[in-house]
């Protein structure tokens, strides 16, 4: 029934409800009318307390209202949905069937022809129309739901950024420029004196350097620029300098100084001599 949808371009699909404004409003109107008729019919059933022995007019009126209301609801829903070619025909045929069934009921019931097998035909006609409308709506929803999920699935796979023409052009220009600069940086120009061998310069060539202007200027911007370009730099010692300094420090902490050593030695010598003297004296 909906095979032709398989060949439709997904990119053209704009959702199940895309029908254009007028048709959408028409469908909404039909749907609204159907709802209204159904409510009215239901209200009449309750007001008239319709049963098998009620007045024929009451039964006919409430039946017409409820039946046409239900049919209009389904027609309205189908009108609001995007249909295929065959879907449209199904909708038209099913609407006609429902309408014919309701009209047949009106005519036959009014003229007292409401007997079997006419009742079967009328009910069958209405049920077929009703089922087709309901089935068409259900099928539309199902197909659009499946298509929507497959669109999401395919778009989800494609996570690449969509570039505009301008961005592509800029990227190409940037790549070309970098490539050219790389080639240019590898060039080795030979601007030798071969072109200038036959040239003789005038006397003024080495005497003056053009128009000279002398201006008092201490050009302190260079210091500011230095700090602006590299504000954090102070010293560069590296790990070798640091190791050396720490080794020197540890040495300095471990060994006494030369002067201290000398004093200690002197004290020891004095002590030794004193012990010798005292021991000698004791021996004496």
């Amino acid at each position: 029934m909906h095979k032709e949808w398989e060949n439709e371009d997904i990119s053209e699909s704009k959702g199940i409800l895309y029908r254009g404004e007028l048709i959408y409003y028409l469908g909404a109107l039909i749907f609204g009318s159907g709802i209204a008729l159904l409510f009215i019919g239901t209200a009449f059933v309750m007001i008239f307390t319709v049963h098998s022995r009620s007045d024929p007019e009451e039964i006919m009126l409430t039946t017409i209202l409820v039946a046409s209301g239900v049919a209009l609801i389904l027609i309205g829903i189908n009108t609001m949905m995007r249909q295929t070619k065959y879907g449209k025909y199904i909708m038209i045929v099913s609407s006609l069937l429902s309408l014919i069934a309701v009209l047949s009921f009106v005519v036959s019931y009014y003229k007292n022809y409401w007997y079997y097998p006419l009742i079967s035909y009328v009910i069958a006609c209405y049920v077929i129309g009703f089922s087709m409308l309901l089935g068409n709506a259900f099928a539309n929803i199902t197909v659009w739901t499946i298509r929507g999920k497959s669109e999401v699935a395919t778009s989800g796979r494609d996570t690449g950024k969509i570039y505009t023409d301008e961005e592509i052009e800029r990227d190409i220009e940037e790549a070309t420029r970098k490539s050219m600069e790389l080639v240019a940086s590898e060039l080795q120009f030979e601007i030798g004196d071969s072109d200038l061998k036959n040239i003789k310069v005038g006397e003024a060539f080495y005497e003056s350097r053009g128009m000279v202007t002398r201006v008092k200027d201490d050009i302190d911007e260079s210091l500011i620029l230095e700090h602006a370009i590299s504000p954090g730099e102070t010293e560069k010692w590296g790990s070798i300098g640091l190791d050396k300094a720490s080794m020197q420090l540890s040495k300095a902490l471990e060994e006494p100084t030369t002067e201290k050593k000398r004093f200690v030695d002197f004290k020891e010598r004095i002590g030794k001599r004193w012990r010798k003297i005292t021991s000698f004296l004791r021996s004496k």
Partner: protein
């Protein structure tokens, strides 16, 4: 010891520090051919004219070429056109080498640091400046300089926007190109050029008024005034009109280019420099136009370079000195001391 070199379409300017002064050496980027004879050579030597002799032909170089061209009503030939080496001049590179050698002189120390200015790629032309950049770099390196390259617009920022921590827009209105750079804390965010400058104005004025182009250039440089009141039949009126057209064109292109980047949300000062920004009334006119055009970045202040003609060379010298300090501090591994920066009024002599 470091040098800055502004290689422009009209002028080549070298800046170097000598004691407490900066010395600017300026030479016209032009040459003119004359027939060679002993008399001519004697006359030129006596008059201290800058020239070379090759294959029986004399080529006057620099300012003298310009002067002689005006006198003899001939066209001075230009090695550069629209900011880069002229593809139409076969002798462009040898002549430029000679003029640069004359202006730059020999390095004062081994591998003296040199920063040369180069234009950025123009956005309104399919011209590419890479070949010019590399040729100039190679030319300077052949003279045994430790050569580095810097954008003209960035050089203007270094020269004029130190009080704003080198954050802002630097605009250099030259003869061949107008260079624009936007920088934040000395880092360039955007750099481009426009293929219009002083030469374009001279051409348009020459076509409109019928005056020779060199005459227009001389009139402009002699001290023309841009304003609403102009002398009937003079070039001033045409100069005002085409200067206005140039300013509008530059500002519109700047606004267009600013749309492509996402600059930091700070107010940027603008510094305007360049030889073509010298005429009286240019800065006021440009400032007014810039304020009227609401740029995509906030402008805090618009300043005119103290010396528009030498600003780019001065910026190159600043960059060279900074590079030199960095180079020697790495070699000596001396801790950098916090040098207090004293801001005092700079005295500019004309």
């Amino acid at each position: 010891m470091a040098k800055g070199l502004d290689i422009g379409t009209m002028n080549i300017i070298c800046a170097e520090k000598e004691g407490d002064d900066i010395v600017f050496m300026r030479q016209r980027n032009a040459f003119m051919k004359l027939d060679s004879s002993d008399l001519t050579k004697n006359m030129l030597d006596t008059s201290k004219v800058l020239y070379i002799e090759e294959d029986g032909e004399i080529s006057l170089l620099g300012e003298d070429a310009f002067k002689f061209a005006t006198i003899f009503e001939k066209d001075a030939r230009r090695p550069m056109s629209q900011g880069i080496i002229s593809p139409k001049e076969k002798e462009a590179i040898p002549i430029m080498k000679l003029i640069v050698e004359n202006v730059l002189g020999q390095p004062r120390s081994s591998h003296e640091v040199l920063y040369i200015s180069t234009p950025a790629n123009p956005i309104d032309s399919d011209m590419d400046v890479l070949y010019h950049k590399k040729t100039m770099e190679a030319l300077a390196k052949s003279m045994k300089y430790d050569t580095h390259v810097i954008d003209e617009g960035l050089a203007v920022i270094y020269s004029e926007l130190s009080d704003w921590n080198f954050t802002g827009l630097g605009i250099s209105v030259g003869a061949g190109l107008t260079n624009v750079t936007l920088a934040y804390l000395a880092t360039p965010l955007m750099s481009f050029s426009i293929a219009r400058g002083g030469d374009w104005i001279d051409e348009q004025v020459s076509k409109s008024t019928g005056l020779p182009k060199e005459h227009v250039t001389t009139t402009k440089e002699a001290g023309s005034k841009l304003g609403k009141e102009v002398k009937f039949g003079s070039a001033d009126g045409a100069l005002t009109i085409y200067y206005d057209a140039l300013m509008t064109y530059v500002i519109q292109n700047l606004n267009r280019k600013l749309a492509e980047i996402a600059p930091p949300k700070v107010a940027f000062p603008v510094a305007v420099a360049g030889g073509s920004a010298l005429p009286e009334g240019f800065f006021e006119h440009f400032k007014k136009k810039l304020i009227e055009t609401k740029l995509r970045v906030e402008i805090s202040k618009i300043i005119r370079a103290k010396d528009p003609l030498n600003s780019v060379a001065r910026g190159c010298l600043i960059a060279a000195k900074t590079q030199e300090e960095k180079k020697y501090s790495k070699i000596n591994i001396i801790p950098k001391k916090e040098v207090p920066v004293k801001k005092h009024k700079k005295k500019w002599r004309k």
